[in-house]
């Protein structure tokens, strides 16, 4: 089986692609992995996890560029499955899903409608319609709209960029500064003091069913609040909320929902439309969602056991080394074959 996976960076901002690859290899060691990279500096290109790596056109180049590049790769490798793992590439993949199916390349994607209903700007409305709690939020395109939002919400608020970045704001002066820092299109969200933070990774089958999930309480976070360590929990409130989201959206594919416990409620902060970087921890806990997803795409009925609470993980950052020649090949030819594991360099 030949599977292409994107999002190979495991640097300061960790991407989920290598976690997907390791989850797959844990159960299917003979799988051929085609890495799809946007930049020759993505660290996972050089770890030996992928058999071949291709450079891809940036998502901003649009769906046609993506389709043509995948055609080119498919003509060489006969791809069975593609697993896109970045938020900003998913709409292009959704647009070319029909083309991929016509080429017999399987991919698990949410519908365009489901993708948009869970965006930061629509999440409050979605949660409210389902009887779930999420901090109230307003989209602001101008500083005046941002100021109006703070009048409704009261300080402090969180200013969030539409794709990334979040700044806590307590005064009008801070609001102006943060607004322009986040490129002047922001979400103004009611600030919630977190006592505990949780993430749930799950797999939806596209018919409203949750195939499997694993929830952690974050025990360590990065400067930007991403999970860097965690412990699995068995939380019926979170499970019920996730089940309701999946049912309402008929979500297809792997996703992550982030919760904050504020001493009263589990507030839903984000629903990410792809796997999180800590996905491989869930796989090691026995909840291997990439394998379940591939089984699902092959028409099998995947069986995922419930996650046992009390299992811990910590991300262990380490240094890898690689050859300039490998990087040069990728930069010049757009492809790097026979990826050499770092240990072989010694």
């Amino acid at each position: 089986m030949i599977i292409a996976v994107s999002a190979l960076g495991r640097s300061e901002v960790s991407q989920p692609g290598i976690a997907v690859v390791r989850s797959l290899r844990r159960v299917r060691p003979d799988v051929t992995i085609i890495g799809l990279a946007y930049d020759s500096t993505e660290s996972g290109i050089y770890t030996g996890d992928c058999d071949v790596v291709y450079l891809m056109p940036y998502p901003s180049q649009g769906e046609r560029a993506l389709s043509e590049r995948l055609d080119d790769i498919h003509s060489r490798h006969r791809l069975d499955v593609v697993i896109p793992c970045l938020d900003n590439e998913l709409l292009n993949y959704i647009a070319v899903e029909g083309d991929l199916q016509a080429r017999n390349i399987r991919v698990a994607l949410p519908s365009s409608k489901a993708f948009h209903r869970r965006t930061k700007s629509n999440l409050y409305k979605l949660c409210r319609s389902l009887g779930l709690t999420s901090p109230r939020a307003f989209v602001a395109c101008t500083i005046e709209q941002a100021q109006d939002a703070t009048e409704k919400l009261g300080f402090p608020v969180m200013l969030k960029g539409m794709e990334f970045g979040a700044i806590k704001v307590a005064t009008q002066a801070e609001l102006v500064s943060a607004f322009y820092q986040l490129n002047a299109l922001v979400l103004v969200q009611k600030f919630v003091e977190p006592e505990d933070e949780y993430c749930c990774v799950g797999l939806g089958d596209g018919y409203g069913n949750l195939v499997g999930s694993c929830t952690i309480r974050k025990t360590t976070t990065t400067a930007t609040g991403k999970a860097f360590g965690g412990i699995t929990v068995n939380n019926p409130t979170i499970d019920a909320a996730v089940g309701r989201l999946v049912r309402a959206l008929k979500w297809c594919g792997i996703f992550e929902v982030e919760f904050v416990w504020d001493k009263h409620d589990y507030q839903i902060f984000e629903m990410n439309p792809r796997a999180p970087a800590w996905l491989d921890a869930a796989s090691q806990f026995g909840v291997n969602l990439p394998v379940a997803m591939v089984d699902m795409l092959q028409g099998k009925k995947p069986a995922v056991k419930p996650c046992e609470p009390g299992q811990l993980f910590a991300r262990h950052a380490t240094d890898i080394t690689f050859n300039l020649a490998d990087m040069a090949s990728l930069m010049q030819k757009g492809v790097m074959e026979s990826v050499v594991p770092p240990a072989a360099h010694q």
């Binding site: 505990d196 309480r217 699995t232 068995n234 409130t237 416990w261 609470p309 009390g310």
Partner: protein, 77 residues
Amino acid sequence: MSLTFNHLRIVDGVVFDTVSGRFHRVTDTAAFIIEQMQRRAPVPNIILQLAETFAVPVETAARDVEHFMSGLLEEKR
């Protein structure tokens, strides 16, 4: 509110809340009380058992049990 505490697990002197994901070190007496509660022992029995096992006056055991249980109830989600 139910007085069952089956969401708590004790592992080598650490109590883990399987719902909240929080964990704390606990004393032997605290671990003893949790284990008794998980066996659904009546509170008067827990007090007597605690007094006998740890050789403390019944009044002291009663105060400890009451204090510990109210703390657990406050944290229960």
